[in-house]
Each structure stands twice: as structure tokens, then as C-alpha cells.
Symmetry: C2
Subunit: 147 residues, 2 copies
């Protein structure tokens, strides 16, 4: 069993204790999110699952992503482009985004906790979390540099 599947099992189990019902569509959406290393849009998910669920509505995808967000197992990311991307909340990592082709790569880096605490002091906010993206050109899009 893969790591992704283990986490999926945990999440499915933890949802059992809530009012939130487990449906085949929900399971499939979660499964797709946990298996994929990409950061799919709602439409990506919809398209990926239309083979298995030919009658599934786009609204179902959106509804469930919202539910997952509310429970805190999924995060919504919006970059410059038109549609939001969705990501399982796992261990802390940041994202490196290609400004040409939009590819997103995970980047592990120790959490910037001191930024949060400083922001808390300076602004008077009660800080919960933060998010960082690093932008550049991926190897495929960058001109080949020699040195």
C-alpha cells in the first residue's frame, strides 16, 4: 500500500465520525487528489473521473472540494490563471511554479514559523497559516544556459 493510499484511508476513516457521508464520487475525488502529484483544477478532476462516473456532475466536484476544504483536508490554490487548483493538505511544502507552462513542483523547506509570529506581532492578526509560491522557468521552458 502506498503512502498516498495510507493517508487516504486515514482521511476516509476520520470522515466517518462526521455527518459527512462517504459516496463513491467522493472517494474517487479524494483518491485522485491523493494519488496525483499534480495540482489539478476542478475540471481536471471532472475529466479524469468521467470514465468511471459518466453521469457525475461538475457541481459534484465543486461541492465536494468545498466540503473537503471546510474540513481542512484540501486546500485551494489560485495562481494567476483562470481556474483554481486543489491540493491535499499534507506535510508542509511550498510550490515552485513555471511562469511559462504552469507546471507546479513541490518544494520542501522548513516551515517559516518565525514569519508567522512576526506578522502576528506587527499586524495584530491571529495567524493560522501561510502560503508561498516561487516563480520561475522550468528546465523545459528555460533557454539552455551554459557556464
Amino acid at each position: 500500500m502506498t503512502m498516498a493510499n495510507e493517508r487516504l484511508q486515514e482521511v476516509v476513516h476520520s470522515l466517518k465520525s462526521t455527518k459527512i457521508r462517504m459516496t463513491p464520487q467522493r472517494h474517487a475525488i479524494l483518491e485522485f487528489l491523493y494519488d496525483s502529484m499534480s495540482h489539478p483544477t476542478a475540471d481536471d478532476i471532472y475529466k479524469a473521473l468521467e470514465g468511471k462516473f459518466p453521469n457525475m456532475s461538475v457541481a459534484t466536484v465543486y461541492n465536494n472540494l468545498r466540503v473537503f476544504k471546510e474540513v481542512g483536508i484540501v486546500r485551494e490554490l489560485s495562481y494567476g490563471d483562470s481556474s483554481s487548483r486543489f491540493d491535499c493538505v499534507t506535510s508542509d511544502h511550498y510550490h515552485v511554479v513555471c511562469s511559462d507552462c504552469g507546471k507546479i513542483v513541490d518544494f520542501h523547506y522548513p516551515g517559516l514559523d518565525e514569519v508567522e509570529s512576526l506578522a502576528e506581532h506587527v499586524t495584530g492578526f491571529q495567524i493560522n497559516t501561510h502560503r508561498m509560491e516561487i516563480y520561475g522557468k522550468c528546465p523545459d521552458c528555460a533557454p539552455i544556459s551554459r557556464h
Copy 2:
């Protein structure tokens, strides 16, 4: 003359040397952006200026924000919520966002250059820039805590 107006003058002057023409609408949009400490949406700007320009089209606001972005004097920020926000590019700062009411406060912090260089090594991207948001509840939205 305020700091904001000084910067506005500079920008207007620098646009003179390009093909980009200065129009009253453009000037008003820039003025509004430089004066406002908030991070308005396109619609905020449109509404704020409809008194002065009753016939201005929303398209004009969007068009000009795109132009300003291309020239590099304005930055587009997209958070989870529906519409993008726009911000004058000034000195480096980050944003603290209230997850309840959406208020955005600037947060000055030394640029995280080492994050960029590490990301460059780890991912092979040619990194240009990064962006960080810190999320929490603003003083108005946070429950009053006593300690």
C-alpha cells in the same frame, strides 16, 4: 505632496517615453491605486471612479490593469476568492490576509532570497520571484482574547 503622489508622478513620467498614452481614465486608475492602501479589485476601482467617469467601461479598467501589469507597475494578486486584486509594485513586502473578511495588510519582511536560491538548486528552475501570504483573523474578526 505625499509619497504616493511622488511615485505616481514618476510613473506617469516614465510612461511618457513609451507608446502608452496617458488618458484621464488611466491617470485616475493609477491615482486610485497609489493612494489606496487597500488592494482593490477591478470592480472596486470601477465603482470608485464612476462618479468622476460616469461613462467609463469596465473593460477600460481591465484593459488598463493589464497594460500596467505588462509594464510592470502593477501586480495582480489572486487569492482563494473570486476576483483578483491589484497592487502597485513598490518595495518588497508580503501580505497578511484575513480569512474572514478578506482584509489585506502589508507586512514588511526581508526578502526570502535564500528560499529562491535553494529552490533553484533543488528544482532546476530559473527562479525569478516569489510570493507569500500569511493568513489569519484580523483584530476585528478575531474573538477577543484575554490573557
